[in-house]
Amino acid sequence: MMACVAARELADGEVVFVGIGLPNLACNLARRTHAPNLVLIYESGAVGATPSRLPVSIGDPALVTGSLMVCGMADVFQLFLQNGRIEVGFLGGAQVDRRGNINTTVIGDYKKPKVRLPGSGGAAEIAIHAQRILIVSKVSPRAFPERVDFLTSPGDRVAKVITDKGVLERDAQSGELVLASLYPGVEVKDVQVGWKLRSRAQLGRVEPPSSIELQLLREVLDPQRLYLGS
């Protein structure tokens, strides 16, 4: 479901900075449905990849073989990201807060962390330079606190947060995340976050995955269910 919703957010021809897992699935689903000319750029330097297998890391050799361009990482960050060529960036995180800020660094205090997370990787600069950020993350009060413990990636460019219950959007006026639409069978009260979540006046209802989307995901894109889970 999350992969379908993320895929539908992508317009044909857009240049997308992709991570591994659900974002990669979403991009490849979009390419096979409504957005065949999506250009996928991986942090590792592969541009325009059409992987012959589901990549297990953003450095997977399958992203290189048959891609349109492979460049060094200085070019990825300077010539693509900082240059402003990336239209959509996908991010995830251990914590997402009220303003869409993301934490992938530590839970607790930086100097004495309760949990040490991997760190920024490219997430800080993706959040700063991609024109539109899509966050993909399961929703819970713990994962969505009022304020992140450590601000790794600023939320200013976050457009939507695609969760397992529904979609949050960043309200342009208040700058805070609000509930925009729900998946089939989900109620407003099922979406629990660490602050008083407001809803759009017109709450949307997300269309369930079509049979084509489901078939592509389950039989073509992730037959081994590496990322689809269920």
Binding site: S57, I58, G66, V70, F77, S120, G122, E125
Partner: protein, 294 residues
């Protein structure tokens, strides 16, 4: 030169050491040799510490880690790293990927700093005071800076090189060129030694010139469980399995005893697990060539 000799001569206790390669071409062979030679107090630098630095941290080689993303890509955590950090026994200096790339770029250009548009609104400069800023002399705007990183030694795994060390790499390039040019000493470990004529037939493919190379070591499969495009695939099973091994100190120690201390060289390491070659050997996908004539 053997890898044993190269590490003995060019990697010293207390050095700032870089083994680069973004997923691709990570010299596990060199990391293992450094562990075997029991180097201590190293400052290890790398964008993604990956399994190799997790092993070196577990083996007690590292005093400090300079990095931007410390995880087991696509799998989970680096548990030796996490234990060291959560236990307070490993010093950290943390950037984002772009920050690390910029540090190597400055080092390679022998500038004291690099400018980037980054970090505004993040907590990273608070966690790392070496992230500073500079004012543009034209527009007056403030931009982030990171200091140059100039390692004592950088170790690069390359697909092929000639005997002098003119090294060619294809597939993902990471920051290998910048790290090598930033470094005082450069060890190039290669899959395949080729005649100088092969290198000269395609000079645009050369990433690291012999003029900056200190030692050349031939070590086939030296990047396993990482991969070498055109030679062998990434050993994803090993990466997945590392989650279980690294979670437990005892299992990790056992792994090091068996696969690192327990072998003398990469050749012995490969003999230990003969199925690797049949499982991971690369298929053929040749490029369409080009003409350099005039």
């Amino acid at each position: 030169m053997s890898l044993e000799d190269a590490v003995a001569r060019h990697v010293h206790d207390g050095d700032v050491v870089v083994i680069e390669g973004f997923t691709h071409l990570i010299s596990f062979a060199a990391g293992h040799e450094i562990i075997r030679q029991r180097r201590r107090e190293l400052t290890l630098c790398r964008l993604t510490p990956d399994l190799i630095y997790d092993q070196m941290i577990a083996a007690g080689c590292a005093k400090k880690l300079v990095f931007s993303w410390a995880g087991n890509p696509g799998v989970g955590s680096l548990h030796a790293f996490r234990r060291a950090v959560e236990g307070g026994t490993l010093e950290l200096e943390e950037y984002s990927h772009f920050g690390m790339v910029a540090r190597f770029s400055a080092g390679a250009a022998r500038l004291p700093f690099w400018t980037l548009r980054d970090y505004a609104g993040t907590d990273l400069p608070k966690a790392n005071p070496r992230i500073k800023s500079v004012t543009c002399p034209y527009t007056g705007e403030a931009l982030a800076t990171v200091p140059a990183l100039n390692p004592d030694v950088t170790i690069i795994h390359a697909q092929r090189a000639d005997a002098q060390g003119n090294a060619q790499i294809w597939g993902l390039l990471g920051v290998q060129k910048e790290a090598a040019f930033a470094s005082t000493r450069v060890i190039v470990v290669i899959e395949e030694l080729v005649d100088e004529r092969v290198i000269r037939s395609d000079p645009n493919r050369t990433l690291i010139p012999a003029a900056i190379v200190t030692a050349v070591v031939v070590e086939p499969w030296g990047a396993h469980p990482s991969y070498a495009q055109g030679y062998y695939d990434r050993d994803n099973d090993f990466y997945v399995g590392w989650e279980k091994i690294s979670r437990d100190k005892g299992e990790l120690a056992h792994y090091l005893d068996e696969c690192v201390y327990g072998v003398k060289s990469r050749a012995e390491y490969m003999q230990q697990q003969p199925r690797l070659m049949e499982r991971l050997k690369a298929g053929e996908q040749r490029c369409v060539g080009v003409n350099y004539g005039f």
